[in-house]
């Protein structure tokens, strides 16, 4: 068992910067992430203990981390914990969304960046937000064909975000480059359109597209169909709150931030002592702002662990806060393009699967609600929605929206959220139990006769 001052969970931009910032203030830091180490790792081995390829399955006490890595299970302790677990791509279900060949934006981006492979020879990119253009442009650059980009957002939505974009000319240039690539390839963008059906068409998929209004509700107008090998979907991102929720920090629902988030102060402190949340996990902000938030939160944690306080640290925190605020303005405008649209959820057909792990359809959710289920945990027990291997990460946001509208509540907080459970990721019994002899199992006292 190893002991640290702080453990950072999540090796993305927020976590990496939080770890570096905390280490630069003299703390003993571990950074842990389920994925293999990125090729360009900015962490100097001597300042941060990095545990890549380690999936955290439990967090408990104040604070104990249990993980499974290439060498089996391990656990470590830390005085403080920074959760930088990122976000999950949201897919608003449509007919056929569980077919092979329909993948989410993050999976497509990972294949393009990590393995340099195309999601399909031809693809259709659907959803909302700036990631659509990024994935489409990267697909084209890698030699793929993008049949179309289908965006819930219309021209009017982007205009609202423009003043914010002007504050970050560098990102604006990046976006212009993506769109130049897309236009040059002759890929068409359908604004204010949405996908309503995917069905097999020989070796490929046939997508039916419909016009929609600003709320994502389809409108009565002629539909079109397009053929592609692969449909890449992303209707925004949902903050990954399972760790902060398990630790019972206070949470609230914020549509603009992407969903349920731990309630934090501007420096990332949650309601629980020495538990922090950084980056997208604290509310969707995107990679750039996540990095600056990570630095801010790492320094804040260091200050809180310095019993006597530290004037130089406070100065660095002030600077980090200003730096983060510069980028966060744009980030929030971008996140606003990706919020869940209630008309979009209303339009999910009755026989469409919402929870793919347990094959729960919208009609099952409606029926449970009609029979008296009023909160998310009741819904889970009555339908198995969210009981599968993903623990509701994929379906919870949509199921919550459906239930809220069914019970006539004005807020998602009324119907609540699936109680967070370990393991965060499915964990092998073989690895957890290891080699043991029956005699050595420490057995508590026998139950009474």
């Amino acid at each position: 068992m190893a002991e640290f001052d702080v453990i950072v969970i999540g090796g993305g931009p927020a976590g990496t910067n939080a770890a570096l910032a905390a280490a630069s203030a003299g703390l003993k830091v571990a950074l842990i992430d389920e994925h293999p180490a990125p090729v360009t790792l900015p962490l100097a081995e001597h300042t941060v203990t990095s545990l890549f390829s380690h999936a955290v399955w439990s967090v408990s006490g104040e604070y104990r981390i249990d993980a499974v890595g290439p060498d089996g299970p391990l656990h470590c302790m830390a005085r403080a914990l920074i959760v930088a677990s990122g976000a999950t791509v949201r897919t608003v279900p449509f007919e056929g969304w569980t077919l092979p060949g329909v993948i989410d934006l993050a999976t497509a981006a990972k294949r393009l960046a990590g393995q340099g492979t195309l999601p399909g020879r031809s693809s259709l990119v659907v959803g909302c937000g700036p990631w659509l253009a990024a994935v489409a442009a990267n697909t084209i650059d890698a030699g793929g064909r993008v049949e179309a980009i289908v965006d819930l957002a219309g021209a009017a939505d982007s205009v609202h975000a423009r003043p914010a974009k002007d504050s970050r000319p560098d990102l604006r240039v990046q976006q212009l480059n993506w769109w130049r690539t897309i236009r040059r390839a002759g890929t068409r963008r359908y604004g204010r359109w949405t996908i309503v059906r995917a069905e097999p068409a020989g070796e490929s998929l046939c997508a039916t597209l419909a016009r929609c209004d600003g709320g994502g509700r389809t409108i009565d107008a002629p539909r079109i169909t397009l053929i592609a090998d692969c449909i890449v979907v992303g209707h925004g991102f949902i903050p990954a709150t399972e760790i902060t929720a398990l630790l019972r920090a206070r949470h609230g629902y914020s549509r603009a931030a992407g969903g349920w988030i731990a309630i934090t102060d501007e420096d990332g402190r949650t309601s629980r002592a020495l538990l922090y949340c950084a980056g997208d996990a604290a509310g969707i902000v995107g990679a750039d702002a996540a990095a600056s938030h990570g630095t801010l939160v790492g320094l804040t944690c260091a200050l809180d662990l310095t019993a006597a306080g530290s004037v130089p640290l406070e100065r660095r925190i002030d600077a980090a806060r200003r730096e983060h605020e510069r980028g966060a303005h744009l980030a929030r405008a971008m996140a606003n393009l990706m919020t869940l649209r209630s008309g979009h959820v209303d339009g999910i057909p009755v026989d469409t699967i919402v929870c793919r792990c347990e094959d729960v359809r919208r009609g099952d959710i409606d029926a449970a609600s009609a029979a008296g289920a009023q909160d998310m945990n009741q819904l889970k027990a009555w339908t198995r929605c969210g009981m599968g291997l993903c623990q509701g990460r994929l379906c919870g946001d949509i199921a919550g929206e459906l239930l809220m509208r069914r019970v006539g509540a004005g807020s998602r907080e009324t119907v609540g959220w699936f109680t967070a459970r370990t393991p965060f990721r499915p964990v092998s019994i073989d690895v957890l139990t290891g080699d043991f002899r029956y005699e050595d199992i420490v057995i508590p006292n026998a139950a009474p006769l």
Binding site: K380, A381, M387, L389, R421, I429, T433, I441, A446, L449
Partner: protein, 361 residues
């Protein structure tokens, strides 16, 4: 048990309101392992458990919706000589109360459950054990109670109870805009681990312990077992459901209490529980854990139930703290309802008088 009591009272002609701090069957009855076994039932409760298991197997007759009750052979196992001795002792004690439990040698046990670790020495066997999918309990009772015209108040924690003109007045949470107030001639306390604070509202002091049981469920697997398994010391319960998931329990403790509810699991205890499970069914090695959760269990000072009239209070009753309470629950609730309705009952209740703090033994 509160739900069953309410159901049979309503069917007996009473107007019934059911008040629940969270949602029906969410603290214990809907989150336990759903094991129906005589091997883990306390010996003196065997006659009750046998009648209750019968009820679980016939939910279509009295409850309506299914909780996927499944009958399966129940085996309690011994892997050491000490465990074999414990097994014999426990089987004998339960047989005395009528449990049809037989002792089997290794080969006979393996014939019933071929997936067992071949190092098993002996087993106690009960042909009529089984299990339910406990998470469906709330839905089934909800439906039955609504049909019986029981008024259900969920998410309504009782904050105060007054006695007014021969009636009880029950108050809901104070912060809500319109405070819930319900008046009734009779009062039944069925609050599980919260029975201690509930009874205290009537100035009756009965200590109630809170157990925080950890439960583990695997991903869906091909069939690897067909019986309800436990071990001699009672610290493992395991079965595979029709959907392929294997549920592992046995009362290994997590962290929590009455005030905070279930707080967190204890990784060392999870690993201990999983090692027992894997030792019993070696094929579990290849499985992954999908979800772990905690359920609360209430226990009195002597570990026996409290079911009956609350001493010194008119028309106030209490029901709870039944060891293996899910197995016996429906029968216990029915028994209390029958008593309150003035009907003849087959078996005696469990007078709470003995448990009142400071009372003479």
């Amino acid at each position: 048990m509160g739900c069953t009591t309410a159901l049979f009272l309503a069917r007996g002609g009473m107007r019934v309101a059911l008040v629940e701090k969270d949602a029906l069957c969410r603290a214990a009855s809907g989150v336990n392992a759903g094991t129906l076994t005589l091997h883990m039932t306390r010996a003196a409760l065997i006659p009750y458990a046998m009648r209750a298991v019968q009820m679980w197997m016939e939910t279509d007759r009295w409850l309506g919706l299914s909780v996927l009750s499944t009958m399966a052979p129940g085996l309690s196992l011994a892997f050491t000589e000490a465990e074999r001795e414990l097994l014999q002792q426990r089987a004998m004690a339960r047989r005395k109360f009528g449990a049809p439990i037989d002792l089997l040698e290794r080969d006979a046990a393996l014939a019933i459950e071929p997936g067992l670790n071949r190092s098993v020495l002996a087993a106690a066997f009960c042909a009529n054990d089984g299990f339910t999918s406990a998470y469906l309990t709330g839905r089934a009772y909800h439906s039955a109670l609504r049909a019986a015209e029981v008024r259900i108040f969920e998410r309504t924690a009782v904050t105060r109870i007054d006695r007014l003109n021969g009636h009880y007045r029950v108050y809901g949470p104070e912060n809500s805009a319109a405070q819930v107030r319900i008046e009734a001639k009779r009062l039944v306390m069925a609050g599980g681990v919260w029975l201690e604070p509930l009874c205290a509202m009537l100035d009756v002091a009965i200590p109630v312990k809170t157990l925080v049981n950890q439960l583990i469920v695997t991903e869906k697997l091909p069939p690897i077992m067909q019986s309800v398994l436990s071990i001699a010391n009672g610290l493992l319960s395991m079965k595979q459901f029709a959907n392929g998931t294997v549920l592992i329990g046995g009362g290994w403790q997590g962290v929590g209490d009455r005030m905070r509810g279930p707080v967190e699991t204890v990784p060392q205890n999870l690993i201990g529980n999983l090692r027992l499970a894997r030792h019993v069914i070696p094929a579990l090695r290849l499985a992954r854990v999908a979800r772990i959760w905690l359920g609360l269990e209430s226990e009195t000072a002597d570990g026996m139930p409290m079911i009956g009239a609350l001493p010194g209070r008119d028309d106030a009753w209490v029901i709870g703290c039944v060891h293996s309470g899910y197995t016996s629950g429906p029968y216990m609730g029915k028994l209390l309802a029958q008593t309150m309705l003035g009907e003849l009952t087959e078996l005696p209740l469990f007078d709470p008088r003995r448990l009142i703090a400071g009372a003479a033994a």
